[in-house]
């Protein structure tokens, strides 16, 4: 990997490995379904796909090892001249404009590359344990693995692409896979409709994204990162209003993909897909694409600010932060009342992604205002949160999958395979599972803590950074509008503490609420490995931070990132000169208090409780269960009135967004379509039919003039002669 060519080759190979593997699985599966060796040895394609992902992981690790700490400035390399053409402008032709595929490596892409391939591998592993042991999937797992692989190649390709067009292309491919995988259980109407919803909602965003890209192209004459990021705004001034518009349009695409307000409605429904899909696509990787896109805009903001166009693009940052804040708050609120374990996680995903968006918004705001250091810090915090969230949420989903899987099996065992409307995902059916599922409960606890932001655990560092930078922007840098997202984020931090704890305690603490929950068995072996791995990844966030993680994205700006400084900075709001900022000290502790104390304690008091007598939990979580028992005994809330209030109902109805969109579809869009069809049939085609019938009736009338009487004919001849005489005479 010393020479450039081989680097290019190895990196470019990464997305193609799964791309080549998927048809093999698909066609083998189509023909050898049900064969013993196919089912048991190749795990209906799971083994092949795991192998493929293993190769990808190895390649990725090699690439990351090669470039880590070295690649401060991104660099694109062309691989394929996709289409070449000329552009005509008023000043003449630009010849040989090329839209090719190439790879672009910088720290952002390396990080996401690693996240993607690592999680893809683990979740593929998990899938073998999860999918292949469920009877409902028999004889169609090959489809799952094939689509899974296309997704992986889409994700990897998107991360590596060296221009916005190819980013968009792979982005769309992921969208397709998301559609296919959500609709994996296509026979369920809910799954089919969720798949459609996901595709359409993201498609709406994609349309804007595409228009945004087209405008970008118009502005820069190219979509290559190299060209756009290296643009000299002095020599080639651009229309800033147009650029702003383009960026906002692109952001709308990101909103759709990352399920932000108001295009968020698809994500909860997407949980209809198999749990590994939710884990990978709808929590860990694909939804990050929007974040990646926004992060990719960063050099543009820096570039404009460097060229003296300070603040011209700041509005974009505010909009992004605003959307993030609203989504974070809204999603957290809705997550309060969800009983479906996956739905809670889905809203949590939405909320956490919103954090990252807010962080990125603040980052872009700083960048545009010409404050690179703060901008880099915010960018680092956001991307770090992305990393933490991906690891934690991937694990949480897998753990929830484990729970669901075992619940399902237990139910199957008890009811002897009959369908009685039992919902294996409903947390009100669970309880006390900590004793049955030791690894799962541990993993879930770790993941939840990371998401909540319990101090010292992965997510804490990044979340803290995001909130702090948002406030910083709001308070010190004149971004008064940013107060709104900043306040919302702060409140949401507490809410996160509540709903994540609620989920954990409802599932694992207390007494079993149903018979099924009592009969749950231990996890299947394939599930354990990824959970354990990810638990370490999650808890070890600080390790990554101290491994100069943030400097990955800082492009050469040296920060003092040693552990001690990090600690001081985080907990005491001390800057590098040792001065403590009291405002941020308060803010920091408010955040910690809200998220780590208030939220969890309220949740414990409402949903916690000791296990059934005689049941013991694994030591890693038993303290939690016991703590919840204590809290519950001490403070007993009666939340009945609140739970039955209109607000709770509205939250349960997801704040009526789905109803509203359904109303738009069914009452506006579909009627317009039907109306257009009717108009086409009766109006436009009616004219044609009218001409036809008109000429038919004219024909009848004309033929009636041929009366059959010779006298009439003679008379007509006579009249005709008169007519001729008249015309000719008159003419002369």
């Amino acid at each position: 990997m010393a020479s450039g060519v081989s680097v290019e080759f190895w990196v470019a190979t990464i997305p193609f490995v799964p791309l080549i593997t998927f048809p093999i699985i698909l066609f083998l599966g189509q023909y050898f379904n049900g064969k013993g060796w196919w089912r048991d040895i190749l795990k209906e394609g799971g083994a092949i796909s795991l192998m493929s992902m293993g190769i990808v992981l190895i390649l990725t690790s090699m690439v990351v090892a090669q470039f880590i700490g070295e690649m401060h400035n991104g660099q694109g390399r062309d691989i394929l001249d996709w289409i070449t053409f000329d552009v005509l402008r008023s000043d003449g032709f630009t010849n040989g404009v090329n839209l090719g595929f190439g790879i672009y490596i910088d720290h952002i892409s390396l990080m996401l590359l690693f996240v993607a391939s690592f999680l893809c591998f683990l979740i593929n592993w998990f899938s073998i344990g999860y999918m292949n042991t469920d009877k409902i999937n028999d004889n169609r797992n090959h489809r799952f693995y094939a689509e899974f692989l296309i997704f992986c190649s889409g994700m990897l390709g998107m991360v590596l692409a060296d221009n916005f067009l190819w980013l968009f292309i792979f982005w769309e491919i992921m969208g397709l896979c998301s559609y296919l995988l959500i609709g994996f259980y296509y026979e369920r109407p809910s799954a089919a409709s969720a798949a459609k919803k996901a595709f359409l909602t993201t498609r709406v965003g994609d349309v804007f994204l595409m228009i945004g890209l087209i405008i970008m192209w118009n502005i820069y004459g190219s979509l290559d990162f190299d060209i756009i990021f290296g643009w000299n705004y002095f020599e080639n001034p651009v229309d800033m209003t147009l650029l702003k518009t383009a960026l906002i349009l692109m952001f709308i695409g990101a909103v759709g993909k990352s399920a932000q307000f108001p295009l968020h409605v698809w994500l909860p429904d997407a949980m209809e897909g198999p749990t590994p899909v939710s884990a990978l696509i709808h929590a860990a990787t694909m939804v990050n694409a929007g974040l990646y896109l926004v992060a990719r805009m960063f050099p543009i903001f820096m570039g404009t600010a460097d060229s003296g166009l300070i603040g011209d693009l700041a509005d974009v940052g505010i909009i992004i932060a605003m959307i993030g804040g609203i989504t974070a708050f809204m999603a957290a609120g809705i997550a309060f009342v969800q009983n479906d374990i996956k739905k809670v996680l889905a809203y949590s995903t939405m909320s956490q992604l919103a954090y990252i968006f807010t962080g990125l918004g603040a980052c872009l705001w700083f960048a545009s205002k010409g404050k690179p250091e703060l901008a880099y810090f915010a960018l680092g915090a956001s991307l770090f949160h992305l990393f933490n969230h991906a690891m934690a949420k991937g694990m949480l989903f897998m753990a929830s999958g484990s729970v669901i899987h075992e619940m399902h099996h237990a139910h199957h065992h008890i009811s002897h395979g009959e369908h009685d409307g039992f919902d294996a995902q409903d947390m009100t059916n669970m309880g006390g599972l900590a004793s049955k599922l030791p690894i799962t409960s541990t993993a879930m606890a770790a993941g939840s803590m990371s998401i909540i932001g319990i101090p010292l655990i992965g997510g804490f560092w990044s979340k803290e950074g995001i909130i702090a930078k948002t406030w910083k922007a709001a308070i010190y840098d004149g971004g008064y509008l940013l107060f709104i997202p900043a306040i919302l984020l702060l409140i949401s931090a507490g809410m996160t503490g509540f709903y994540m704890s609620r989920m954990w305690f409802m599932t694992f603490a207390g007494k079993p609420k149903t018979k099924v929950a009592e009969h749950v068995h231990e996890e299947t072996p394939w599930i354990k490995f990824p959970l354990v791995t990810l638990t370490f990844m999650t808890l070890g966030g600080i390790v990554f931070a101290s491994l100069h993680f943030i400097s990955w994205v800082s492009e050469g700006h040296a920060f003092h990132y040693d552990l001690v400084y990090e600690m001081k900075h985080a907990f005491l709001a001390m800057d590098k000169d040792g001065i403590i900022d009291s405002t941020f000290l308060i803010l920091t502790w408010a955040t910690i208090g809200l998220s780590s104390l208030v939220g969890p304690i309220v949740a414990m008091s409402l949903y916690g409780g000791n296990l059934k007598d005689g049941q013991k939990a694994i030591p890693t979580v038993s303290w939690l269960v016991r703590l919840s028992g204590i809290v519950r005994n001490r403070w007993q809330f009666n939340n009945k009135s609140l739970a039955e209030s209109g607000l709770a109902e509205a939250l349960r109805r997801r704040l009526y967004f789905d109803d509203f969109y359904d109303w738009i579809c069914l009452k506006i869009i579909v009627p317009i379509g039907l109306g257009a069809a009717l108009f086409d049939k009766k109006g436009i085609d009616g004219v044609i039919k009218g001409i036809e019938s008109g000429s038919q009736s004219t024909s009848t009338w004309v033929r009636k003039l041929t009366t059959g009487s010779a006298r009439d004919y003679i008379m007509m001849v006579a009249l005709g002669s008169l007519l001729l005489v008249g015309l000719i005479w008159g003419m002369a």
Binding site: Q30, D81, W82, I83, T84, F85, D86, V87, L88, R89, S90, F93, N95, V97, L165, F168, I169, F170, E172, I173, L176, Y179, G183, Y186, E187, R188, P189, A191, A192, S193, A195, K196, F199, L200, R203, V204, D206, V207, F208, M210, I211, I214, I215, W217, N218, I669, V670, I672, G673, L674, G675, A676, A677, L678, D680, I684, D685, I688
Partner: protein
């Protein structure tokens, strides 16, 4: 028995190959002029299929079944020969011709013979970057169509008719003489008329007549344009002609180009506009655009699978091809003047077509309207007057040419196996017929413009060009993309998906077991799918050629006008 039949077929194909080889090497024309177009691409399919049909009609009715296999293999053989020759030509062109350097109005494989000397009509054929993809597309689609609809009724007429159709279509695409162009233009109607009339659905009688009359009516206005243009030629150009004039497109384009260089408006502004309108009416109806589109849904819904495949795949492209070959290459002033109108028509087609799709309950009707919608993109590409837009429009012609046959092939297979075309008449097709469902999904995804499938390239190119020229108008195509996704996904949900644990085949199936597609259908559809992917990932195979052509076209004909308008 089956093997016996196969052998028969092989003999027929072998015999045909030998006959063709003989024709090519013994025919004085081919030998002397090195003419690879006249006999192999046009003469062979037309004469061959007429011979086959004549042979079939001579066989008494009760014996016809026994010759059906021979006829099928013979038709397939002819179409494969054409495909092989065309592919060789294409490879030759791709390897040896650099489209970026070859100048506008230059052709390869160009041959010229006298035809009707007294009026100056010639048999003039040639291939350039515009026609090569179309010719290859036609040559490709005919065998695929034959294979896909291998089991059609009355194959002794059906398959030769497809071959005949292919020959006529290639004639349109290679013609460089207006007379020849028009003759083949109208000739294509006849086989399609019979395909619809004899193998179509319930309303086929109405549909066949409507199709014929509608498109014929439009193209006679084009004929008026041809005549007017012909009369405006220099009356001393062709001495052998009574009128002294010629129908040669090559000459006319050359004259137009010279006038542009001199800074004149060839024929004068008003005349250019008049001719432009006359020609465009013919082409727009063929394309078709709203509001001249209503023949299309009727024709498509009633046409047999093979007919729809060729109709949507190639016949609609005749309109787009004609626009590039004639009005755009000859009347730059009018093109620029009418740019806005073209764009608006394109927008209406695109947008309105998509909305109508949303309201359709018939699968084929929906796909037909989606064709209308996609043809709007071609018009938009043209209206953009950008090299990229032109190249995108031409690529759209090609891409839609491989996507829409698959759409119709799938719809036809659905009709064949489920006896219905109603969307929502069934649930859970993925369970009953996974191959059919898979192909259907693939084709729909391709049609809604999924990246890395052929249609996306064209859409992106056209949208970019559109923005360059018209700015925010691009929002309408953008919305249309979403609507396109909506109607396809909605139909997918109601046809392929759902259905619960139990199967829900449509009522029209009665007690029959739902079946999956035949091997032949699988081969045909999968080969189209593979092509869609190949041209989606490697569009440059043709795009370079198209973009070279477009740039040359704009640079040598339109540039002055465009610059004049920009001031």
């Amino acid at each position: 028995m089956a093997e016996n039949k196969l052998n028969d077929g092989m003999y027929v194909i072998g015999g045909l190959f030998i006959a063709i080889a003989g024709l090519m090497f013994l025919s004085p024309i081919s030998l002397m002029e090195n003419d690879w177009v006249t006999l192999p691409l046009i003469g062979l399919p037309i004469l061959g299929s007429l011979l086959l049909m004549g042979f079939s009609s001579a066989v008494p009715a009760w014996k016809k079944e026994s010759i059906s296999e021979i006829i099928k293999y013979a038709s397939l053989g002819i179409s494969l020969i054409v495909l092989i020759i065309t592919s060789l030509m294409m490879t030759d062109i791709l390897m040896n011709v650099h489209w970026a350097t070859i100048s506008f109005n230059q052709y390869v494989y160009e041959v010229e013979y006298n035809w009707i000397e007294s009026i100056g009509a010639e048999w003039h054929v040639g291939i350039d970057g515009l026609s090569m993809p179309m010719v290859w597309l036609t040559a490709l689609l005919v065998p695929i169509t034959i294979i896909t609809t291998w089991n059609e009724k009355k194959p002794w007429y059906y398959h030769p008719l497809l071959v005949l159709m292919g020959g006529c279509l290639i004639g349109v695409f290679v013609a460089l003489d207006f007379f020849m162009f028009y003759v083949f233009w109208e000739l294509t109607l006849v086989p399609m008329f019979f395909l619809i009339l004899n193998w179509g659905g319930k309303e086929r009688k109405y549909a066949a007549q409507k199709f014929f009359i509608y498109t014929f009516s439009a193209s006679i206005l084009m004929l008026l344009g041809i005549i007017t243009l012909y009369l405006l030629q220099d009356p001393s150009a062709a001495n052998s002609s009574f009128t002294g004039r010629t129908f040669d497109m090559h000459e006319m384009i050359k004259t137009a180009q010279e006038e542009v260089i001199r800074g004149n408006i060839w024929l004068g502004a008003g005349t250019q506009k008049l001719l432009f309108v006359l020609f465009m009416v013919g082409f727009l109806v063929k394309l078709p655009v709203v509001p001249f589109h209503t023949w299309l849904p009727d024709a498509h819904v009633q046409a047999p699978t093979g007919g729809s495949m060729l109709l949507a795949g190639v016949m609609l492209k005749m309109g787009g091809y004609g626009m590039f070959r004639i009005p755009i290459s000859m009347f730059p002033h009018a093109v620029v003047e009418f740019q806005m109108i073209l764009m608006i028509i394109g927008m209406i087609s695109l947008f309105y077509g998509a909305w109508v799709c949303l309201g359709q309950t018939n699968l084929k009707r929906m796909v037909a309207y989606s064709s209308v919608s996609h043809m709007g993109i071609i018009l938009l590409g043209i209206a953009s007057l950008q090299p990229l837009g032109f190249a995108g429009a031409i690529f759209m012609m090609f891409a839609h040419g491989i996507i829409s046959p698959m759409l119709f092939g799938v719809a036809g297979a659905f009709k064949h196996h489920y006896h219905t075309l109603e969307i929502g008449s069934m649930r859970g097709m993925a369970k009953h017929s996974p191959w059919l469902a898979g192909n259907m999904m693939f084709s729909w995804m391709a049609s809604l413009g999924l990246p890395l499938l052929a249609g996306f390239v064209a859409e992106v190119a056209v949208l970019v060009a559109l923005w360059f020229e018209f700015g925010w108008w691009v929002i309408i195509p953008g919305i249309t993309l979403a609507i396109t996704a909506a109607y396809y996904l909605w139909s997918m949900q109601r046809t392929i998906f759902e259905g619960g644990e139990q199967t829900q085949p449509p009522e029209s199936l009665g007690d029959e077991e739902p079946k999956d597609i035949y091997l032949t259908e699988k081969i045909g559809l999968m080969s189209l799918a593979i092509l869609i992917v190949i041209f989606g990932i490697f569009p440059f195979i043709f795009f370079e050629m198209m973009s070279g052509y477009s740039s040359e076209l704009i640079e040598s004909i339109l540039w002055d006008e465009i610059r004049g308008r920009w001031g």
